[in-house]
């Protein structure tokens, strides 16, 4: 918020009052009371460390593996021949290299879009069936999220590697970059307001500068992630769709091409980051 586009900082803050946006703005406008917060940050680090051993996402990962191997859908086949980009059935390392262009579908897909594609083409599910429970609700865990969690875990320890090889991939990176820096919606808001500079903090959350390689690596390497506050795993689609909601942007349909473009842009930036998947977060 250092570079206000219009109005005084005060007017800007007023405009955004009542939304999380206001908190983000305040955090940067007033600076952070560093001393008191640093000890807190140490204790929060300890909290996170204690949670890392025994990530409940592992339970969801186990369910995902089962779902991958179980014949399902109208055609009663498993997903074991699904091509996630490295050839049919090759899952290890696939997540680290997504999104990517798929010639058979003629478009760039992320892990979820690809799984939905395989569920349709191989298992015979309709698009509506394949996407109906795309995120987990209390008491109702999503099959798709479980699959993504398992696929993600098969890239644990691998380096994020999403280079631009196909013109469609180049197009998506560009589009992602554009969306990331664009401001719109009723609050004149965008990703870069919260994630486009160093040292932004909302409550106790340090927000990394995702437009820099280091920040993008740090953010992208720990997904999908078990969210303690939600009691379940969130995928990157879920994370970004929720961030768009926070920016007061129009509701996204799943799987969203705008999200895939953002993922392509961020994964491309995050090249070299070593995946620690599934992650665990607040």
């Amino acid at each position: 918020m250092r570079k206000q586009r219009r109005g005084t900082p005060h007017a800007a803050a007023k405009r955004m009052a009542g939304s999380l946006a206001a908190l983000a703005a305040l955090a940067t406008l007033t600076g952070t009371p560093a001393l008191a917060q640093d000890k807190s940050m140490d204790e929060i680090a300890k909290y996170r460390e204690m949670l890392a051993d025994g990530n409940p996402a592992e339970l969801i990962e186990m369910r995902g593996e089962e779902l991958w191997k179980t014949p399902r859908g109208p055609k009663n086949v498993s997903l074991e021949q699904c091509d996630l980009g490295l050839g049919p059935g090759k899952v290890e390392g696939a997540y680290a290299q997504l999104p990517r262009y798929f010639a058979d579908a003629g478009k760039v897909m992320d892990v979820e879009a690809r799984l939905v594609y395989c569920m349709q083409t191989q298992q015979g599910f309709s698009f509506a069936e394949a996407t109906k429970n795309w995120y987990s609700k209390p008491g109702k865990e999503s099959d798709l999220v479980a699959l993504v969690t398992w696929v993600g875990a098969q890239s644990n320890g691998q380096k994020i590697n999403v280079p631009v090889k196909h013109p469609k991939e180049a197009e998506m990176v560009k589009m992602g970059e554009y969306i990331f820096h664009r401001r719109s919606g009723p609050q004149d808001f965008g990703c870069s307001v919260c994630h486009g500079q160093d040292g932004v903090r909302i409550r106790l959350q340090d927000l990394d500068n995702l437009s820099q390689s280091k920040g993008a690596q740090k953010a992208m390497r720990t997904w999908p992630a078990y969210r303690v506050s939600q009691g379940t795993v969130w995928t990157m689609q879920r994370r970004l769709i929720d961030c768009m909601r926070q920016a007061r942007w129009p509701e996204q349909k799943f799987p969203s091409d705008a999200v895939i473009a953002l993922e392509m842009y961020l994964q491309n930036k995050a090249a070299g980051g070593v995946l620690e998947s599934p992650g665990i977060k607040r």
Partner: protein, 103 residues
């Protein structure tokens, strides 16, 4: 039926460390659903771990144990390849038993 547990057990210097993740909502009985109705309490109440037919830990949970409960402890003995068996039962009578192999 309840989802399987994840059980890791590893022996080091004659002591076996067991780490268990259980798949369970652990409803407190205080949460309201979208329609405003109270979601009834539903939680694992008893957990037992055995090794070689001997109980190595017995626990009782209330609804204040976190969703997808985690439990870690250590016992003397246990050799690579042996099994640790963990069973739980919840307040509605659902139950689950799984085995982990000591590494």
């Amino acid at each position: 039926m309840a989802d399987p547990m994840k059980i890791r057990a590893a022996n080091k210097d004659g002591v076996t460390e067991v780490k268990i993740l259980m798949s369970h909502e652990m409803e407190t009985g205080q949460r309201k659903d979208a329609s405003g109705a109270i979601v009834p309490a539903h939680f694992i109440s008893e957990v037992t771990a055995t090794w070689n037919g001997k109980v190595v830990l017995q626990g009782e949970f209330g609804p204040a144990v976190s969703k997808n409960p985690y439990l870690a402890f250590k016992f003397k003995g246990g050799a690579k390849g042996e099994k640790v068996t963990v069973s739980w039962v919840d307040n509605k009578g659902d139950k689950r038993t799984d085995e982990g192999t000591i590494a």
